[in-house]
């Protein structure tokens, strides 16, 4: 790699950032800190305000109130072309009347950087498109256009690189491949990346830190594995992967564990993994942490048992099987079992019990509204 990225990225801080559009609030008092050199993902469903946040950072949208600090400096009064920020746009926005290399050199030329063509060529080489420099964007495939867009942004060595669903237009296989490349490039150049996406797998794969956004606010923020292991709200539990969630009044609590009465069944979670320990609370568990059994397992203080129920659906997804188990009075539970030949062989309609280790339960701060999946 022959581009010098100098001091690398800067940190980004949003303070009380708010954006109102006529009739609704797109972003509500957002506070956020992205440390320099991190790959940060803003994850959320469409309409959650993540793209508006990105556009405000880029300067394409004016915030109603709040501050945007890049490397400690407030950039709120700077026009887009004055901000040390570059964006990889959703549909790449490559200039159709310029060749690939002219596209990449565009930003360098605007800032009167020396040897723009040499640097642009180096950036193209980095994304392995050096041999296509003279082509027009329309002559490239989607994945190639995406890489040109990336090179066009990276070559400017921005303090902060914004990625607006940059992989959204690619097919699944190319998407996965580009995710790996993008992560690799980020590690190589050491810039601060802010990646906006609605694809939870993509966010978890690539980011050092994921912030889950919903209705203009950040619900939870943290390392992907932490977020997945201990979601704090029903929205995060449902949006980031799948969850079985049980709601009931707290029936027992001690220093170690909190139990609820879920329609006559006792479900326990560790206190250390619970946001609330009084009143009506929701306890969840990931489907892959649950097992089913042909005979009733013994209930102990370290496991939760539900059942019996009937298997109503089996899906083979390759590496794992997904079972839907309908337990009368309780409802449906999802169980993932690795496809390694260890699980009992069951058929539709089989009667089974479901269990999981108490240590895998998590207690949520709120109750599911039933709209999380929407």
């Amino acid at each position: 790699m022959s581009i010098d990225f100098g001091a690398g990225g800067k940190d980004l801080e949003l303070v009380g950032l708010r954006k109102e559009f006529p009739g609704f609030v797109a972003v509500e008092n957002l506070d956020l800190k992205v440390p320099a050199g991190q790959f940060f993902a803003l994850l959320g469903p469409s309409g959650c305000g993540k793209t508006t946040t990105l556009r405000m950072i880029a300067g394409l949208e004016n915030p109603t109130s709040g501050k945007i600090l890049i490397g400690g400096k407030d950039v709120i009064d700077l026009k887009p072309h004055e901000r040390p920020v570059n964006t990889v746009f959703q549909n790449y926005a490559l200039f159709p009347h310029m060749s690939v290399i002219e596209n990449v050199a565009f930003g360098l030329r605007q800032r009167k950087v020396d040897d723009p063509m040499v640097k642009a060529q180096a950036a193209l080489d980095m994304v392995e498109l050096g041999h296509m420099a003279e082509r027009r964007p329309a002559q490239l495939s989607g994945g190639q256009q995406q890489r040109v867009a990336l090179a066009r942004a990276l070559v400017n060595r921005p303090a902060l690189l914004l990625l607006d669903e940059p992989l959204g237009a690619l097919d699944l296989k190319l998407r996965r491949q580009m995710q790996i490349e993008l992560k690799y490039i980020q590690m190589e150049v050491g810039l601060t990346f802010l990646h906006v996406t609605h694809d939870q797998e993509e966010a978890m794969d690539m980011a050092d830190i994921v912030a889950v956004m919903n209705k203009g606010q950040i619900e939870q923020m943290g390392a992907p594995e932490k977020l997945y292991d201990r979601p704090k709200t029903a929205f995060v539990a449902k949006f980031l992967g799948q969850s079985n969630i049980f709601v009931g009044e707290v029936s027992e609590t001690n220093s170690e564990a909190v139990s609820i009465n879920f329609k006559g069944n006792k479900i326990t979670a560790p206190v250390a993994r619970s946001e609330k320990t009084t009143g009506k609370i929701a306890i969840g568990v990931r489907p892959e942490k649950t097992q089913f059994h042909a005979t009733k397992p013994e209930a102990t203080s370290t496991n939760n048992v539900l059942g019996p129920g009937e298997i109503t659906d089996i899906r083979f997804t390759g590496v794992s099987n997904q079972y839907l188990i309908d337990i009368p009075e309780i409802g449906e539970i999802i169980v993932f079992a690795q496809n390694v030949g260890k699980s009992p062989v069951v058929e539709l309609g089989a009667q089974v019990w479901v269990s999981w280790q108490v240590e895998h339960s998590f207690g949520l701060a709120d109750l599911p509204t039933g709209k999380e999946d929407a």
Partner: protein, 265 residues
């Protein structure tokens, strides 16, 4: 949204430009109410007489009627011929496609005076007397390319899968055309017909070369300009303007209501 040429500069400019575009229209309209005696140059007071008795100026009315007959006839022929060509160009592969395109492009790139003089020279050679028929022939000729362009744009947006679906659902080619293709093309065809009508109705140069003693409305205005145009001509011009604007506004309002209804659903 920050690529503005100054926040108020551009809107002000646009407003002033429209004011400029409107001046002669307003002038024509105002002077249709002038209580003039012979020429309609100096303002002599307000009257409705010109509007109530347009046909007191028999020449104006006759010229207007001729213009209508010519525009309707030329529009009908040009729309039928042009629609056929447009469908053929988009839907079929054939040799001489680029030659056909060139032939259709040429009338658009030829000054009217050349087309008018050429046709007039040909009528002279053929010994055809100039009159209503020669004007209709001429107008059909120069509006044809405009019809092709307009309809072709519509045909190109038409999904061929719709026609295939029609065939798949047991419609024969004639039924496919009548029940699927034609209704979908209709807005484009109507737009083309309106354009052809407007072009024909307002044409002067080609008309002057090929009309002989027949008067059309623009030709009447041209001839009258030497002496001063009677206010009745302003009345007819204003009337046509009002009707045309009413049609355009109705079409726009209807389509925007439709869009809003769709958006609500």
């Amino acid at each position: 949204m920050k690529f503005s040429l100054g926040k108020y500069l551009l809107p002000t400019y646009v407003f002033l430009t429209f004011l400029f575009l409107g001046i002669p229209i307003a002038y024509t309209f105002v002077f249709s109410f002038n209580d003039s005696i012979k020429s309609n140059i100096i303002w002599r007071g307000f009257t409705f007489d010109n509007w109530l008795n347009v046909c007191n100026q028999q020449d104006v009315c006759d010229a207007f009627a001729n213009s209508l007959i010519i525009a309707v006839s030329a529009t009908l022929i040009a729309t039928v011929l042009g629609t056929m060509i447009a469908i053929a160009l988009v839907r079929y592969k054939f040799k001489f496609r680029s030659a056909t395109n060139l032939l259709l492009f040429l009338p658009l790139a030829t000054p009217e005076v050349v087309m008018g003089a050429g046709l007039a020279a040909q009528f002279l050679d053929f010994g055809w007397p100039k009159g209503m028929l020669t004007v209709i022939i001429a107008h059909t000729m120069f509006t044809l390319s405009f019809v092709v362009v307009t309809v072709k744009a519509r045909v190109a947006t038409l999904d061929p899968a719709l026609e295939e679906a029609g065939r798949d659902l047991y419609a024969n080619p004639a039924q496919v055309f009548m029940k699927i293709t034609f209704p979908l093309l209709l807005p484009g065809i109507l737009a083309a017909a309106m354009l052809a009508f407007a072009l024909s109705f307002d044409d002067f140069i080609i008309t002057q070369f090929n009309s002989g003693s027949i008067d059309t409305f623009p030709k009447f205005v041209y001839t009258a300009a030497a002496r001063g145009i009677p206010p009745e001509a302003n009345v007819i011009g204003s009337m046509v303007f009002i009707v045309a604007i009413a049609i355009v506004v109705t079409v726009q309002v209807r389509s925007s209501i439709k869009q809003r209804k769709l958006a609500k659903k």
